[in-house]
Amino acid sequence: MGNQQTTFSQDQLDRYQDCTYFTASEILRLHKKFRQLSPELVPTDMTGNKCTDVLLPASLVEGMPELKDNPFADRIVRVFSDGTSLVNFENFLCMFSAFSEQAPCEVKAFYAFRIYDADEDQFLNENDLVWTLQRLTGGHLNKEEIDLVVKKVLEEAEMDDDARISFMEFEHVIYRSPDFLSTFHIRI
């Protein structure tokens, strides 16, 4: 308990518990993880504005154990830092909240869409899909095969024949994929 007082104020803890899927102890654990990334930048005492003002470069966050082997690490961090390539603790919390077990499919689908939407045009177009597939397969799939898969994916998801997947379409199909919830999940 004493530890809680020094890291976050009660108000902050309440707020973060209300806004994320984490409990106080999990928030503290996440803070520890955040601090481990750069002990000199991140203070132990996060009261005041430090949760928003202390910024870590995206590269540091991408290198954390939970993300370093993830082919989409840079996208994840980018989505949750709004392209600024600087991450504060609040965004860090939001990120893991979206990946937590309690987060419902809606939230996960929303962020998954943004992560896969590499060119950030709010649509998953062919380029996004090719990009995603290259990341997924680590370059083990050749060009024709990738094109074929992209074609098939579009066929399955498409409803309005515009050769790209909108968020609605994405949500619609992703709800039907039983594996989505279990795979889009990072334990902290």
């Binding site: 898969v149 039983p178 795979t183």
Partner: protein
């Protein structure tokens, strides 16, 4: 609603500006002011609104009071839409439901769109009106409170969430200061307290999530498949804790307080009992036979009826398990089967759900790349192959092959079951006659045989199933699991049948040579105890030590040698391991009546199993090359667990209600049936004078007419539910059709639009309000719709969005055009050098909004934006200069309205305060012309068409 009144008054400029504009408009929509819109909303919001079943039309009536022709034109258009025709064929009920669902859909779509703008993580605080709108969206209508769950679900940045939260707090303060009835305050306080209580308990439960870090570690290295085994194990472990406490507290503890004398006090504890469960352990609280048939009076003045407690505690244990398992099964089923359907989107799930985000090790990540590649290749080749069906000869070959494997499997299973039965018989004779040598070996022989079968048979089954060449690997797994399960249940059934056989229980003085036992319940309990223990040891020794550890040593030893390139560390056998767990748990359920402490033993077993398995997996195994479809398999496993549970429950019911208890031991030694203790209890209660009322109640409950009426009630309930389910099925089907038709709508609308524009091409540009503004009026409509929403408030959306779907079809149509301005576009437009006017020149936000409206023709914007920046369709507020060049290219361009389905189009058409654009007027005029030509009036048209 009063809030909005005042809000409107607070912005006189809004109305004024609009009126100014309206009088300027050349098309004569003077009456169409925000006030009119507002009144329209007000009317619609009333619950007794006669039009509420036909919101589209009601809306049209209210929203377009002065532009009758145009409105009716739009009505015509709308009625022409393929999707509008759907309700007609079906009854009104479905039609309404479809409508309600559609409304909900569009409301949520509205929400989603908004999120796109707000979901940014730049940490910049949003203006107050945005927050207000968000708050209204989230807050509960009555209390004005925001449910934290809603807040969490809203995918916006923390900065925005914080703002909304503090806004809610402020509102709460305001509410408090208002004078409200004391009952309301009390109810409000209670609801808040209840909510806090729920949150606290949830948090408390979350804090005690067991083995979280271990699971994370396993998942990080092996993915969700292997970790699903551990989650399953953890679930069983947690289930065994309350079970053990329950059984121990109500059965074993009272007996411990008053221990009966042992029949043979010379037997001492030697240690081998832990393995055999016999000898010294026979007469302890471990087994059924030890419990007395009287009352326990260890505590002076209290009487504890042991037989009754024994029965009720076991029943309670089963009810507890039933509740927990059924709940888990239901939620798992809902999650994995009802919501998600396999095969429907094969590629989608293989691409978007392929990466296991939980993986944190490099080797696992590399392997996952390969796995995904292989899977995709497989499925591609499968697709190529799927066209060619197997010809007759092949089919015949396959059929005979499968027939052969099934016969083989069935005979093997039958053989195993027979073996177990005869070995049991033989051993019993042997032991009873005092023949044979080593007693321990004979005691555990059966358990050894059963465990060996359990070890070897799954391998054979897997092999057989593999031979059958199933098209999908998933089917292969399911069939193997099914066969495995049958085998295991069969073995348990044989053992149970053996010990409950009537011949065994025939009185001990028969001399026909067949063996009899004194206390068959204890014997069965011991047998199950042995099975549990030996199964545990087998799992540890063979499945873990030999198959994983020794193999790893072998691999390390032979590392690099040519001959053993192919030999690698073992993969974790998820299916077989989970099957073993189910088998163990079934044993526990069956044995718990005969061995009340079995739950405790199983509890210890699971605890050690978790750690041993975890260490072994982490040290000895390698990640699987095949991907494991976690979700559905998990459901199947839980389903099998439920089935096992039900089978065990049925078996125990048979034992309690039908089997004759041993006369020499146990709490029911003087009863004909175990159940008789309950009957006796009732009888004794009837006898007492105070029990009269109880007797009456019991009489009623067990009377024929009462049971019949209960049965009839259940039947009716089932019929209602099933017809409801059918109705939902129907609804789903019609909604599917609706979705398809929406696509058709879009196509149709586009065709019309294109042909209309093509017709206009070459004519001078129409002088509508939308195109009137010159250069100076072009603005970048940043966050435009928020302003518009404010000036034409829409109380219904936030308030009734969740509660009454009937109303919120109004919501998206009341004046807010869904706008997203992406910063890129603003930049791009600057670069293009379009006539831009700095937004800053309009200091008043409502002024900006009005200016923006003046120059907005959504359809045109869409089309133009589409052409200009083909990939970005969220841009709407493009500067609307309508020069000829654009117009020409517009007409010729293949306009595809991404993300613009008909709902949106209507919304945008209707929400334009300037009235419909010239383009639209032309469109409707065209439709009118066509109408008058055909002069055919559709039946059912008019009030909604449903």
């Amino acid at each position: 609603m009063n809030v909005y009144d005042t809000e409107l008054e607070e912005h006189p400029i809004v109305t004024q500006q609009h009126q100014n504009y309206s009088t300027n408009g050349e098309l004569g929509y003077q009456g169409y002011t925000p006030a009119a819109v507002y009144q329209g909303n007000n009317e619609l919001d009333r619950d007794d609104d006669p039009y509420q079943l036909y919101p589209q039309d009601a809306l049209l009536r209210n929203r377009m009071p002065t532009a009758r022709e145009a409105a009716s034109g739009i009505e015509e258009i709308i009625m022409e839409m393929p999707s509008r025709t759907i309700g007609r064929g079906m009854g009104g009920h479905i039609g309404t439901m479809v409508n309600a669902t559609l409304a909900r859909r569009s409301a949520s779509r509205y929400r989603k769109r908004q999120l796109v703008t707000l979901g940014t993580f730049d940490g910049i605080e949003r203006p107050n009106d945005e927050i207000q709108e968000l708050y209204e969206e989230l807050a509960d209508e009555q209390t004005g409170e925001i449910d934290n769950e809603e807040l969490r679900q809203f995918p916006v940045s923390m900065a925005v969430k914080k703002q909304v939260r503090s806004h809610a707090n402020e509102n709460r303060e305001k509410k408090k200061s208002r004078t409200v009835g004391s009952f309301k305050i009390w109810r409000y306080n209670m609801s808040i307290k209840w909510r806090h209580f729920k949150q606290d308990t949830k948090k408390f439960a979350q804090n005690f999530r067991l083995w979280q870090q271990d699971l994370k570690q396993v998942e990080g290295h092996f993915g969700t498949g292997v970790s699903s085994y551990f989650t399953f194990l953890r679930g069983l472990f947690l289930l065994s804790i309350p079970s053990f406490i329950f059984n121990f507290a109500f059965i074993s503890l009272p007996q411990l307080l008053q221990q009966p004398n042992r029949t043979d006090p010379n037997i001492t504890f030697t240690g081998e009992e832990l393995l055999t469960g016999a000898n010294w352990l026979t007469e302890t609280i471990m087994y059924y036979g030890y419990y007395i048939n009287g009352t326990i009076e260890a505590i002076p003045g209290s009487e504890y009826d042991m037989p009754l407690a024994y029965l009720l505690a076991t029943a309670g244990y089963f009810v507890l398990c039933l509740i927990l398992i059924v709940r888990t099964t239901a939620s798992s089923f809902r999650q994995n089967y009802v919501d998600g359907r396999s095969d429907y989107n094969n590629f989608i799930s293989k691409v978007f759900c392929a990466w296991d985000f939980g993986i944190t090790s490099e080797t696992a990540a590399k392997l996952q790349h390969k796995t995904i590649t292989t899977e995709l290749k497989e499925i591609l080749s499968e697709q190529r192959r799927s066209g060619e069906s197997r010809d007759f000869q092949e089919k015949l070959k396959l059929f005979s092959l499968r027939l052969l494997t099934w016969t083989l499997y069935l005979s093997l299973t039958g053989g195993c079951m027979a073996l177990v039965y005869f070995v049991n018989d033989f051993l019993l004779d042997d032991i009873k006659k005092g023949l044979g040598g080593i007693v321990i070996l004979e005691q555990i022989a059966l358990a050894l045989i059963v465990s060996s079968i359990n070890l070897i048979m799954p391998i054979i089954i897997n092999l057989l199933t593999h031979l059958e060449k199933y098209k999908y690997p998933r089917h292969e797994i399911y069939i193997a699991v099914f066969r495995n399960y049958i085998l295991k249940m069969g073995l348990i059934a044989v053992i149970c049948a053996f010990w409950t056989d009537d011949e065994l229980k025939s009185t001990s003085n028969d001399n026909n040579g067949s063996a009899t036992v004194e206390c068959w319940e204890t014997e069965l309990g011991q047998e199950i105890y042995r099975l549990v223990i030996i199964d545990f040891l087998f799992t540890i020794f063979f499945a873990t030590f030999c198959a994983e550890f020794l193999r790893k040593l072998l691999v390390l030893l032979l590392d690099g040698k040519e001959m053993c390139r192919k030999l690698d560390r073992a993969e974790f056998a998820i299916v077989n391991s989970v099957m073993d767990l189910i088998y163990g748990q079934t044993l526990c359920w069956i044995g718990v009546f005969f061995c009340p402490l079995l739950a405790g033993i199983v509890f210890i077993k699971y605890f050690f199993m978790f750690y041993i398995k975890k260490v072994s997996v982490m040290q000895n195994c390698r990640p699987s090359r095949k991907r494991w479809r976690g979700g559905q398999s998990q459901t199947i496993f839980i389903g099998m667990l439920l089935l096992s549970f039900l089978l065990s429950a049925i078996f125990l019911c048979v034992v309690v209600f039908r089997e004759v208890p041993s006369t020499a031991c146990g709490p029911y030694r003087d009863q004909d049936r175990s159940y008789d203790v309950v009957v006796n209890l009732f009888n004794s209660l009837y006898a007492t004078s105070s029990g009269q009322w109880f007797a009456t109640i019991m009489d009623i409950i067990f009377s024929v007419w009462f049971l019949y009426s209960v049965a009839a009630g259940l039947l009716v309930w089932a019929v209602i539910k099933s017809s409801e389910a059918k109705g939902y099925e129907e609804l789903v089907r019609s909604l599917r059709a609706q979705i398809e038709l929406q696509g058709d709508d879009k196509q149709l609308l586009l065709k019309w639009l294109q042909s209309t524009v093509a017709n206009q091409n070459g004519k001078p540009p129409p002088t509508g309000g939308a195109f009137q503004g010159g250069k100076e009026n072009h603005v970048v409509p940043i966050l435009h719709h928020r302003d518009s929403a404010k000036s034409t408030p829409c109380p219904s959306r936030s308030a009734s969005a969740r509660n009454s779907p009937k109303h919120d079809i109004n919501a998206p149509m009341t004046g807010d055009v869904l706008t997203y301005v992406d910063p890129q576009h603003v930049q791009a437009s600057h670069l293009v050098g379009e006539r831009m006017m700095a937004t800053t020149s309009f200091s008043n936000p409502s002024q900006i909004s009005l200016r923006q409206r003046e120059h907005k023709d959504p359809l045109l914007h869409k089309a133009l934006a589409n052409q200009q920046r083909p990939r970005s369709m969220f841009v709407e507020g493009v500067p609307s200069s309508y020069d000829t060049q654009r117009r020409n290219s517009f007409a010729g361009a293949s306009v595809d309205l991404e993300d613009l389905d008909t709902e949106t189009v209507y919304e945008e058409i209707l929400s334009d305060p300037n009235g419909p654009s010239p383009l639209l007027l032309a469109l409707s005029a065209k439709v009118q012309a066509e109408k008058s030509q055909s002069s055919e009036r559709r039946p059912g048209y008019g009030r909604g068409g449903y």
